[in-house]
Amino acid sequence: MNVAWAWTILVVVVGASLVVLVTRREQTYRALKDLDRRWIFLLMLLAVAIPILGELTFPEKPTGLAKAVFDEIEKLEPGDKVLMAWDYDPASEGELGPMATAFTYHCCKKGLKMYYMTIFSPVGPQMIEDAIEHVIKADFPHLEYGVDYVNLGYKSGYEGVIKVIVSNIRELYTTDHYGKSVQDIPMMRDVRNIQQMDLIINVSAGYAGLKEWVLFAATPYPDLTLVAGVTGVMAPQQYPYIPEQLRGLLGAIKGAAEYEKLVLDKYGDEDPDPKYLKGKQRMGPQLIAHMLIIVLIIVANFVYFAGKRRERA
C-alpha cells in the first residue's frame, strides 16, 4: 500500500462523510452532538491496531533536517569520539527507541568510539543497555567494551552534570555504569572533558535533555557539534536553535523513519534486520491515525457550526 492509496481512502472516507452530512443533516447532527467520546477512542484504537497487525508501511523521503544529522555523523573519521547522551526512558521508547538504534548502528558502521551516558532518568542506563545488547553485541560482536564503547550510566544533577563535565569529566564519572574505575577503561584514559568529543548525539524526552545540552554545552563551546532526536512534544521548541546551536534534528517517529532510510540506503543489507526498520513500521499507524484525526476535525467543525446556526435560529 502506498501513499496514493492512503490518500484515495481518505478522500473516499471524507467524501462519504460529507454526502451523509449533507443528505441526512439533521439526524447526523443529533447523533454527533451527543456522541460518546469512547467511540472516538475505539476508532483510534482500530486506526492504530489494524496497520500494526497488517504490518502496513509507506515509503519515506528524508527531509533536510534528517540529512543534516546524517551528514554530521558521516563527516567523522573512524576512531573519532562521539558522546551518546541517551536522555529518555521507557515512557518515550516508542518514539525514541528506533532513532537510538539507528544512531548506534550508524556509529558502529563508521567505527566511532561511543561514550554513552544519561542525565534524564535513572532508567536511562537500561535504554543504553538495549542499544548495546540489540545492536552492538548482536551485530558488531568484534567491538570491545572499554575500547570501542563505554556505558557511563546515569548521574543526577541535570544541567549541573553538563556544567561539570564540560570542564572535568572525572569530577563526576569516577566509575562506569558497572562500577569499574574509569582509569581502567582504555577509551577513558585520555578523556578529560567532553570538549574533546567530536560530536554529541542527544536522544531526548524532556528535562534534562536537549535544551540543557544546547544551553550549557553547544552554546558556550561553539566547537562542540550537537545533533539530536527528540519527542514530538519537544520538537517545535527546538527549531530556533537550528542550525547555529543545533546542527540537525530528528523530530519524533517521522524523523526516525527518515534517518533510518538514510542509514540503511548507505550501510544496510538488501534484507535489513527488522529492528532497523522500527521507525518505518511505526509510520504506518501514524498515517491512518492522522487521517482519522483530520476526519474528526472536519466532523467536529460541522457539529460546531451547525450548533451555532441553530442557536441563531
Binding site: 491496531a49 518514539e95 535513572p122 569516577t174 582509569q183 514530538g232 512534544v233 523530530g251 527488522p274
Partner: protein, 338 residues
C-alpha cells in the same frame, strides 16, 4: 443484571476463555532464555596481584585454552548469566537434544510479560471509565518509580561521588572494588548540606533545612540565568538578524529569501501582539491580529507533533500486546509457525 452489564460480562468471559486456552496450549506470552556460562582464571603466581583471564564463554585473546584448563579449581571464578532468547532457537535446541539445558523456558520473565500486559490493560481501562484496575496500576507505577529513583540515585551518586570521595577505602571494600579514587575532604561540604536538608523531617529546627535550600536555589538560578541569557536570549537575537534577500552563488534564492522574510516578519508581528503599551487599534491592532494567526499556526504545528508522539506511544503498547503477549504477529521473526 441489566443489558449493558450482561454484554460486558459475556465479552470479558469470552476474552478470558480465549486467553486461558491460548496460554494452556503454549501459544502466547512465553519467554525463553539462554544460559551463558562465564569463567575467569587467576593466572598470577602465589602471592602476586591476581590476574583474571576470561576462559568462558570465549577465551581471552593471546591465551591458550589448554593452558587455562590446567589451573586448579581454587583459581577459578564462574557464574551463569541468563540472556533473552527467541522461541525459534529454543525449539531448534530441543529438537536436536531434548535434554539440553542451554535454552530454557523462563517462568519469571513469562510472569513479567503477563504482569506487563495486565498493567497495560488496566491503564487503558481508564478510557472506558475510572476503575479499581486503573487505580491499582497507577499506585504501583508511582510506588515502584519512587523506590527505583531512590535506589539508583544512592548507588550511582551517593556511593561513588560522596562516600567514595570521602572514604574510598570503605567503598572499595564494601561496594565497588573497581573504584580508584583519592580522598577529597572537600566533599564534607555537600555531606553537611545534605544532612541539613534532611533536617526538615525532624520535629524541631526545620529552619536549618532552609539554608542548604537557599544555597541550591541560588546556585541553580545563577547557572540557569547565565545559560538562558546566553543561549536563549542573546543567541536568538543574533539568529533573527538575517539578510532578507538571500543570494546563493551570486544568484537570487527565492525560497531562502521567502523563508527569511517569513521568519523575521513572523517574529515582528508576534512581538507586536505581546506589546501592551499601545492599545491594539488601527495598524497596531491589525498587525497584532496577524501575530495571533502566526501563533495559532505555531500551536497547530505543536499539536500535530504532539499527536504524532502520542500515537507512537499507543503503537508501541499495542505492538507489545500483539507481539510479546498474544503472539498475533512476529515482525522480528522470533517464533516458528507464524
Amino acid at each position: 443484571m441489566d443489558r449493558k452489564t450482561l454484554i460486558w460480562t459475556i465479552v470479558f468471559l469470552l476474552a478470558g476463555a480465549y486467553l486461558v486456552l491460548r496460554s494452556m496450549t503454549g501459544g502466547m506470552a512465553r519467554t525463553y532464555m539462554k544460559a551463558v556460562d562465564f569463567e575467569f582464571v587467576n593466572v598470577a603466581a602465589d602471592g602476586d596481584e591476581p590476574e583474571w583471564i576470561q576462559a568462558k564463554p570465549q577465551v581471552a585473546a593471546d591465551h591458550d585454552p589448554n593452558e587455562l584448563a590446567n589451573y586448579p579449581d581454587e583459581n577459578r571464578q564462574s557464574w551463569t548469566r541468563y540472556e533473552s532468547a527467541p522461541l525459534k532457537k529454543y525449539a531448534k535446541a530441543v529438537k536436536e537434544d531434548p535434554n539440553q539445558t542451554t535454552y530454557l523456558l523462563s517462568i519469571s520473565r513469562t510472569i513479567g510479560v503477563w504482569l506487563s500486559a495486565m498493567f497495560t490493560l488496566a491503564i487503558f481501562s481508564f478510557l472506558y471509565k475510572d476503575s479499581i484496575f486503573y487505580k491499582i496500576a497507577e499506585a504501583v507505577v508511582v510506588g515502584v518509580s519512587a523506590a527505583y529513583w531512590m535506589v539508583v540515585a544512592f548507588w550511582s551518586t551517593i556511593v561513588p561521588n560522596l562516600i567514595g570521595k570521602l572514604s574510598p577505602a570503605i567503598v572499595q571494600a564494601w561496594a565497588m572494588p573497581g573504584l580508584k579514587e583519592e580522598q577529597n575532604l572537600l566533599y564534607i561540604v555537600p555531606l553537611v548540606l545534605g544532612a541539613m536538608l534532611l533536617w526538615q523531617l525532624a520535629p524541631k529546627g526545620g529552619w536549618i533545612s532552609r539554608w542548604p535550600l537557599a544555597f541550591f536555589i541560588g546556585v541553580f538560578c545563577g547557572i540557569r540565568l547565565t545559560g538562558y541569557m546566553h543561549g536563549d536570549f542573546l543567541y536568538q537575537i543574533g539568529n533573527s538578524i538575517i539578510p532578507l534577500v538571500v543570494m546563493v552563488n551570486g544568484s537570487f534564492d527565492f525560497w531562502g529569501s521567502l523563508r527569511a522574510v517569513l521568519l523575521v516578519g513572523g517574529l515582528l508581528v508576534c512581538l507586536v501582539y505581546f506589546f501592551f503599551s499601545f492599545e491594539h487599534k488601527g495598524i497596531v491592532g491589525k498587525t497584532a491580529k496577524v501575530g495571533i494567526w502566526v501563533l495559532m499556526i505555531t500551536f497547530g504545528a505543536g499539536f500535530g507533533y504532539t499527536v504524532m508522539g502520542r500515537i507512537a506511544l499507543l503503537a508501541i503498547r499495542l505492538e507489545f500486546l500483539f507481539d510479546d503477549w498474544l503472539w498475533l504477529m512476529d515482525p522480528t521473526d522470533k517464533r516458528l509457525g507464524m
